[in-house]
Symmetry: C2
DNA sequence: GCTTGACCTTGCCGCAGCGGCAACGTTTCT
DNA sequence: AGAAACGTTGCCGCTGCGGCAAGGTCAAGC
């Protein structure tokens, strides 16, 4: 047989056959006078065995090892490992499909993936409420409000399924109280004014007080007192986690005010 | 944020982030004076979205398309396609695991993968019977016998689950008859003597007759008369399938004898 | 000031399992 | 004689980054 006949017999490409030669999976057969490889049925048997193994999902080098080691002991190991690997892959795909189904459902309801804004309906409602409030107020929207939306969107997309959902829920309740969103925008205004201020500006303390007053007890209770304290603690800027990014997100005086507000909240939490 | 902070926040490597920049999945942020990339929370949001999509199993270019097209129509398509693809993969893995389980069972029973010989126990038994018969006969084993084993091993490993299994079964029955294997070895001897003969050697016809006499009616009935005729027909050598390889496997006079035998069988089959 | 270590920058190679293509020789059919 | 269908070797391409090179930058400790 020539290579094409062999390949056709087994149902594989000639490239694959040559590849197997190259990797040493299949011994090179005799050559004919013209240089063509000349295969016999024993080569076909060998190739069929190689292919059976590769189709099981073994890597080519694993196949080579299995074929080389006639020990058969290693085979057992390899097969066990392979099965575990396949089981893992199967689970992973199942999980992906589950998540994908959720995304598809949401995309269908929503008419598309959340583009740059909110992910959940609750957050979308919250943003809409913000937009209404802002439109009812004079002047442009404070930049801090838009930053706040970014933070919320990030928190929600960052994964912590349960905690963040609950957070958004509480936030929705809190801003649903009459006048709450207006008060929040007052605070945004105070913070916005600090964009170019020094960190020792007297308005910092004022903004911090106002911000802390906006946080309802229900949200304070949701987080442990230690966590509140940590959030305002000295290491927060440099812990490399979310808080560091959060503080870095604001101008220095704004960050100072936010931090002071969290300190006040932490005191209330005790 | 610098790139490491961003990456840590989302839970990804800096390499991946840069890779996403390179592929245009994530816009390049402003640079600081020292050339470092400077990220804000909005970048984190964008990155989180990219990552959610990639973790669903979308390719990076698909993610880019989805993010670029705010149409959302294409998204639906892509997600459908992805789900179908994942379903296919899941099925494939399931099939592989099933086949793998069979191989593992066999390997455990057998103390290793069939090394170069038979695959099934039935074929192993047949080969053992051949070895016994050969040992009881004077002189070395005819080369044709070994070639025959190759053919059988190939047939069995080539896949056609049902048909080949039945073939081996019938072969087992046929050779279990008293004296059958001895008669087969007589024929092997006749064929072996033809290795250097011309195709018009008178012994060809004799060997063909003897070989045809070895084939029991049960095997003849298993294959349709047309298939027998085709197997001995003029196109068999060049059809590129198994028969071509089979005939090429023998010396010319041997092949001629085998073919003549099949012709005789085909006549009996009618 | 100097080192050390942890960052950052760009850029190119490697990975699995071949497919594609180049650039060429052989066989076979017409 | 020419075309079609084979064969040969060899190198590049694909995915989603990781590794490594060969630096520049920054903060901390001596």
């Amino acid at each position: 047989m020539r290579i094409g006949e062999l390949a056709g017999l087994i149902g594989i490409s000639t490239r694959a056959v040559r590849h197997y030669h190259h990797l040493g999976l299949l011994p090179e057969p005799e050559r004919r006078a013209n240089g063509y490889r000349d295969y016999g049925l024993r080569d076909a048997v060998a190739l069929a065995r190689v292919r059976r193994l590769t189709e099981l999902g073994l890597g080519l080098d694993e196949v080579r090892d299995v074929l080389a080691d006639d020990a058969g002991r290693e085979l057992h190991e390899v097969l066990d490992e392979l099965d575990a690997d396949l089981a893992r892959q199967e689970e992973e795909i199942r999980g992906r499909r589950a998540r994908l189904a959720a995304v598809r459902r949401q995309a269908a309801e929503h008419g598309g993936l959340p583009a740059e804004g909110p992910v959940s309906d609750e957050l979308a409602a919250l943003f809409a409420e913000m937009a209404r409030t802002s439109a009812a107020r004079p002047g442009p929207e404070p930049a801090v409000a838009s930053k706040e939306r970014e933070v919320l969107a990030l928190l929600e997309s960052m994964g912590g399924e349960e905690g963040n959902k609950r957070m958004v829920e509480l936030l929705g309740e809190a801003t649903a109280a009459p006048g709450a969103m207006e008060r929040a925008y007052e605070v945004y205004g105070l913070l916005d004014a600090l964009v170019d201020a020094g960190t020792d500006d007297p308005r910092v303390a004022e903004a911090a007080r106002a911000l802390a007053d906006c946080i309802p007890d229900s949200m304070i209770a949701e987080v442990s007192a230690e966590d509140w304290a940590r959030a305002a603690g000295p290491g927060a800027e440099t812990d490399g986690g979310f808080l560091a990014a959060y503080y870095a997100h604001f101008a220095p005086a704004q960050a100072r005010a936010v931090r002071r507000a969290i300190q006040l909240v932490a005191e209330r939490a005790r």
